[in-house]
Assembly symmetry: C2
Homo-oligomer: 191 residues x 2
């Protein structure tokens, strides 16, 4: 699904089900970071009109989700706080090559994979979490992540041929699946 080469296993679901409050706080931070990534891409590739338009839409949607998660936390009396992130994002970002246009391709494809994994996990949460409000909440969110995934892959094609993008996406996706298989002891959206 969505370029991912592995499915999340039951271990992750069991872990986060035990720490839903912490997962929700991490989720809020993930939305904020996703907005920040899209904003940075506007600054770095400002000449690319289509990229700027797509990123502006994504920034808006991620910040809207950020506010939705903050609202949910407030309704549940869960104090929002800073949280040590899982290692997943930083390890994926290390894979970004330094030279343009490779750098642009990698930044976009790494973002596309993070969106894809979020989409897969939001769907899992929508189907399996015991809390009905959270099931509905995640059911309402996962489609936008799938759209973002597709937008990022499409934009990567502005910077390299289709064949190059497809090959690099397969490489990065293989590593992404490996990181997910290794896991992370913290109960996080991407652990």
């Amino acid at each position: 699904m969505l370029s991912l080469q592995s499915q999340t296993d039951a271990r992750w679901l069991a872990m986060v089900a035990e720490h839903l409050d912490e997962l929700l706080i991490d989720h809020a931070h993930c939305e904020k970071k996703a907005a920040g990534v899209a904003m940075n891409l506007i600054f770095h590739y400002v000449e690319d009109d289509e990229l700027c338009r797509e990123m502006a839409t994504i920034v808006g949607e991620e910040l809207e989700h950020f506010a939705l998660v903050r609202d949910l936390l407030a309704r549940r009396g869960i104090p929002f706080r800073r949280l040590k992130p899982s290692s997943y994002g930083a390890r994926l970002h290390e894979l970004i090559r330094k030279q343009e246009p490779d750098r642009a391709v990698d930044r976009l494809l790494v973002a596309s994979l993070i969106e894809a994994r979020s989409c897969e996990r939001f769907r899992l949460l929508a189907e399996h979490v015991a809390d009905a409000e959270l099931r509905a909440f995640y059911a309402g969110l996962f489609e936008s992540e799938a759209r973002h995934h597709t937008a990022y892959v499409r934009l990567a094609r502005h910077f390299a041929s289709d064949a190059t993008v497809n090959q690099r996406l397969a490489e990065l996706s293989a590593i992404e699946s490996q990181l997910i298989a290794e896991g992370d002891p913290l109960p996080r959206m991407h652990s």
Copy 2:
């Protein structure tokens, strides 16, 4: 008006009227930078719920304006490009104190002054530019800048007393007026 201690003089209006294409390109960059400033404030003061909400709204509006200016440029066949900015923003940012909570107060008040000056100049353009489409364009934009100014000043009061914020705003505003009086040879929104 809006905490500003000086009015833009006719010299600026005459300069930009001769270089409207360049002014519009600079305006697009200003909207992008304003969105970036608001996004950075979300990252730095993420615990402040009201700040995050206000900044999310401002990010959305600035990116919408960025797209509007890009559309206008495209309709007029003016190629969008990177542009050396005026020294105004960098010189204001140098005034931001390093220690919190002073830093937060100054970041918010500097942002408030930039919005105020934009508002004042959008209104001038709305009243005095010969081009009717541009007059209507700027008439549609200046109100949001006034709202942003007010929001930034209100949020500064989360980090210091009203008296401290008012005094610091007066200090920074005096320097802002001085920078505007010194001017900048480039035809820019804040030269």
